[in-house]
Symmetry: C2
Amino acid sequence: MRVDLGNALDTVAAPGVSRDALDRLDERVADAHERIEAGRENHEHGYAALNLPETTDADEIRTAVEPFADAETVLTVGIGGSALGAATLARGLDSDVDAYFLDNVDPEHVSALLDGISLSDTAINVVSRSGTTAETLANFLVVRDAMASEGVDWTERTFVTTGEDGNLRTLAERHDLPALAVPDGVPGRFSVLSTVGLACAAIQGRDIDAVLAGARAEVDRLAGSLFESPAYAYGAACYALDERGAGVNAMMPYAESLETFAEWFAQLWAESLGKDGLGQTPARALGATDQHSQLQLYRAGPRDKMVTFVRPADRDDRAIPETDLPGLEYLGGRNLGTLLDAEFGATEASLAASGRPNVRVEIDRIDEYGLGELCYGMEAACVLAGELYGVETFVQPAVEWGKRAARGLLGGGDFEEAEAVAEKTTLEVE
Amino acid sequence: MRVDLGNALDTVAAPGVSRDALDRLDERVADAHERIEAGRENHEHGYAALNLPETTDADEIRTAVEPFADAETVLTVGIGGSALGAATLARGLDSDVDAYFLDNVDPEHVSALLDGISLSDTAINVVSRSGTTAETLANFLVVRDAMASEGVDWTERTFVTTGEDGNLRTLAERHDLPALAVPDGVPGRFSVLSTVGLACAAIQGRDIDAVLAGARAEVDRLAGSLFESPAYAYGAACYALDERGAGVNAMMPYAESLETFAEWFAQLWAESLGKDGLGQTPARALGATDQHSQLQLYRAGPRDKMVTFVRPADRDDRAIPETDLPGLEYLGGRNLGTLLDAEFGATEASLAASGRPNVRVEIDRIDEYGLGELCYGMEAACVLAGELYGVETFVQPAVEWGKRAARGLLGGGDFEEAEAVAEKTTLEVE
């Protein structure tokens, strides 16, 4: 992973960060790096996620999914961090084995999805650390019922990825299902490089060793200076720009296959850093498409945002045929990738020309290795940013209120939060 | 469309807007409404879009697409406003005819898409008002070539939606292609209720009259007071909250099939209002999924955002089977929709409980009529907000710089912007 901070400097952009300010910030980066290294060494909660490239046992994952070597489809039932990492890899990497995700409880969507796949040819991966996540367990009950309706033995087509105990663990033991363990100390949004993120890719026949190798390359690039570590350069720049007013971080990959990566990043960033009144708001965009949607705002709207470009240096290309259509000669005979690169360069420069901060993140290719680098790099950037903000990066206390309220509403216990739902202030306009 | 501003009031949220402030703002809403009505009456640029429910000729659209009654797939080649409206309807409404969109020039994506569909059974709709949009024309050249390679007569499978002149119009005349006209005075992002947005739905066999009827119902709800018009209530609330610090508007539908609607809204909002240093930044979220991703930030991060919930009052439901798994009894025997509604109510209340402003937008169902209401309502809200901000809602001047730069980079003429691309400031970390 390579990071270019040129367009985040105050000589280009406002808000922007000066070289001097980066030098001063680098002292704090050095301290944060020490803290992170200590956390990794002691396998502390959260920091342990940054050890996954070394601790994840790829063979164990491959063995667990061996019974599903014949699967034509893999369906992951999970939500949030239990789905987004696997979905990021599945969207980034081609496979003959289709991957689907049940990460919502919209009944129309669930029905459409289950109607559209052959459950007898599908491997089902139910993912929940606690084994009690309401959305995931409800969806699993629905899927199990659908399998029974089709005469499929669900115990033959299901495996679980879960913690040491809980409903899913009980279920796996009762029915002798293959089970993968969610590693200790790894929050969901940091689990892409573990069993949680890699099992789906393994079923899809992708090279999960290469994902881990890419991540290890990024581990090797961690260092006590933002000028030596691309991940820290990115995390420090985001923090510095946020401090100077860029409260929104628009993640804009120039690759369709990184669209889910942008969602994964949005969770990582929002849930890790969004606390104590701090944290950038991630916005998801896509190049070149969103040049025709968001760019007007990014160039001419409030100076409250930065744009993160992510792109592969190389990709498979496709020729644009020659044409005699007047005014289009300049496109004919070129490649779509050349056009996309021109759009990228033009958009990056157009933001700089209007003094809007942006950062370029680059990988060689969108393949296993590149995605391993990118995901690990962003995780390390996020942990570094968390240290700089001084927040508790690895918890998400603010979501508990709503969980209790929902459970109370469904009759799953007495929760005072549920009562607040009925007391809503209304001002209706019809 | 119904709008509930209760959780945007300052008695609930900070930032929040007082009843008094809403009353004062309502005088400006009355003036803006007069301006909008005058614009509609004179068919002025942009305002003309608010007449589409009355001026669009559904029969003309149906006649133009008649030759494609046998199509199993419809492929729209367009970008930005030339694709998002049609994509919003296609995602919102089921059909046996699959709809795909080539709205990006990523070569790997284009190749994967073209490999995955049978071009001989596909209707191709090339959409560009100017007939010169680089991405769209390049993609069309590629598609035409792919059809030729498969022995498909492209002139039999293609129609265009374009302006009075330009390359696409020339092409249609030369090859006697069916052609629909982009209506005058309607910017792309306001074109969902025109030929641009409705042709795809017509090929998919959906009831475009009902889309227009839903939109007309919303026209009838426009009035000189935000307390009488749901669209204006929404637009005014967003403006007032932005003025008070909510610079981010997180659009969070509680329906998978509204995911593309959120993208459509993001273009509408960003490109219309993002100018002169003003305008909210749209962020796209999805309930219930993003409760496990963005909610931590929305509840505990900076007080710089509002959340817009959109949901259908009714939907097809699906039962959650009974279970004896301990602790899950409360889910068994209920419906997924009940769970989703509980998650919605809990999330809305959890934001209110932490004093974070949010607005509820509701339609009866996600069907043609409901989508017509919703899209028109948001367009009218946007036009109203534009009047309140005092910006030129219907232009997008800031994107021109990048278009010239890209064209210059590709050798399509001499543009000084292209030179700036090579002069990038760099600060690389590898």
